[in-house]
C-alpha cells in the first residue's frame, strides 16, 4: 500500500489480485447478494485508490480494507431493510447458488423437518450464517475466513477485544445449535 501511495500502479494491481476474492466472498456472505457484493467490493477498491495519498501505516492494510468493507456492508444491509417491506413475497433473486426468497427473514424457530428436506448441505450452513445478527456475522466471517486477529477484528467492529470474544462465543454457540442436525452426517441421506 505504501507503493500505491507513491503512485506505483503495479502495487495497486498486486493488492487487487490478492484481496479481490476474499473481499468479494466476505461481502457476499454479509449482504447475501452476489451482484451487490461485487458492487460493494468495487466501491471498496475505489475508496482505497482515492485515499491512497493520505494512507498512513498506523494499522495493517487488511484491517483498514475490511473496516471499509464492513462499514459498507452494514450500511447496505441497513438501507436494504427499508426496502424489504415493499418487495413482493413472490419476487426471487439469483444469488449464484440457488434462488431464494427475498424475504429471508431470520427464523427464530426453524422448522427443522423442513430444513432437513433441503438437499444442499452448504446451503443449510449458509442459511445458518445468514441468520446471525449482522455484527456477529461480521465477527465470524472476519475471524474464520479473513483470519484477522482479535485486536484487528475489534478495531474493525469498533468494540473492545473482550466484547469481541463474547460476540464470537455467542455466534458460534448459535451456529452450534442451528447446525446440530448436520453433526454426524445428518444430511448425508438427502
Amino acid at each position: 500500500m505504501l507503493g500505491v501511495r507513491e503512485g506505483d500502479e503495479t502495487s495497486f494491481e498486486l493488492l487487487l489480485q490478492r484481496y479481490r476474492t476474499p473481499l468479494v466472498n466476505f461481502l457476499n456472505r454479509m449482504v447475501r447478494d452476489t451482484a451487490q457484493a461485487e458492487d460493494l467490493a468495487q466501491e471498496v477498491f475505489l475508496r482505497v485508490y482515492r485515499a491512497r495519498k493520505e494512507y498512513e501505516p498506523s494499522a495493517k492494510f487488511t484491517t483498514w480494507l475490511f473496516r471499509i468493507a464492513t462499514n459498507l456492508a452494514l450500511n447496505s444491509l441497513r438501507d436494504g431493510r427499508h426496502h424489504r417491506l415493499e418487495v413482493s413475497i413472490d419476487q426471487t433473486i439469483d444469488d449464484g447458488e440457488q434462488e431464494q426468497s427475498k424475504l429471508d427473514v431470520a427464523d427464530k424457530t426453524p422448522d427443522i423437518e423442513h430444513q432437513l428436506l433441503e438437499r444442499d448441505r452448504a446451503s443449510f450452513i449458509r442459511r445458518a450464517v445468514d441468520a446471525l445478527p449482522e455484527k456477529q456475522r461480521a465477527a465470524v466471517l472476519l475471524h474464520k475466513y479473513i483470519e484477522l486477529d482479535y485486536a484487528e477484528i475489534a478495531r474493525t467492529l469498533e468494540c473492545s477485544e473482550s466484547a469481541l470474544k463474547s460476540l464470537l462465543f455467542r455466534a458460534y454457540e448459535t451456529l452450534r445449535i442451528q447446525l446440530a442436525p448436520l453433526v454426524g452426517g445428518g444430511f448425508n441421506a438427502l
Binding site: R20, N25, T34, L46, H143, K144, L175
Partner: protein
C-alpha cells in the same frame, strides 16, 4: 473457573491464543464439565462446516468494471505538483544548464606564436588593430624608409 467465565476465553483457547495460565484453567474445567466439553466439540464441528462453504470467484466482468471506474477517476495533483515540471523535463533542463555553465566557464586558449615569427609577434602584440600589421608587413614602401637609429644613440 465457572462455565460463564469460559465464555470470554473459550474461543481464544480453541484458537491456541490463550495465555498459559488460562489454558491450564480451562483444561482443568473441561475435565470436570461435560457441557463445556460438548460445547468445545460443537465449536470444532462448526468451524469444520464453515470450511464447506464454497468460495465465490468474482465474475469475469468484475475487473473490467473496476478498471473502467478507476480510469474515470479525476487525476488529482497537489499545488506543488502543478508547479513542478515533469521529472524527465526537469532533469533535461538541469543537464542543459550545467552544460551551458561549463561551456561558458572555459577560457579561450591563446597559444603562443610560431617560433619563426617570434619577432613579429613582439611587434604586434601591443598594436590596437591587427590588420594594420598585416598591411605594414606587405607595404613595400616601408622598405624604402631609412633605418631607425638605435635608442641609445638617440639619447645621446
Amino acid at each position: 473457573m465457572s462455565c460463564e467465565r469460559m465464555e470470554g476465553r473459550l474461543v481464544s483457547y480453541m484458537d491456541g491464543r490463550a495465555t498459559e495460565r488460562d489454558r491450564r484453567t480451562i483444561e482443568s474445567h473441561l475435565k470436570e464439565c461435560s457441557a463445556c466439553r460438548a460445547r468445545v466439540k460443537g465449536f470444532q464441528g462448526v468451524w469444520s462446516m464453515l470450511n464447506e462453504l464454497p468460495v465465490h470467484e468474482p465474475s469475469a466482468a468484475f475487473e473490467a468494471r473496476l478498471r473502467a471506474l478507476l480510469a474515470a477517476e479525476p487525476v488529482r495533483r497537489s499545488f506543488w505538483e502543478g508547479l513542478m515540471p515533469a521529472p524527465r523535463m526537469a532533469f533535461a533542463v538541469a543537464m542543459l544548464a550545467i552544460f551551458s555553465f561549463w561551456i561558458s566557464s572555459r577560457q579561450p586558449v591563446i597559444s603562443g606564436p610560431p617560433a619563426s615569427s617570434e619577432a613579429e609577434f613582439r611587434m604586434i602584440q601591443d598594436l590596437p588593430v591587427l590588420e594594420n600589421y598585416d598591411v605594414l608587413v606587405s607595404f613595400d614602401i616601408l622598405s624604402q624608409l631609412p633605418a631607425q637609429p638605435a635608442q641609445g644613440q638617440e639619447k645621446n
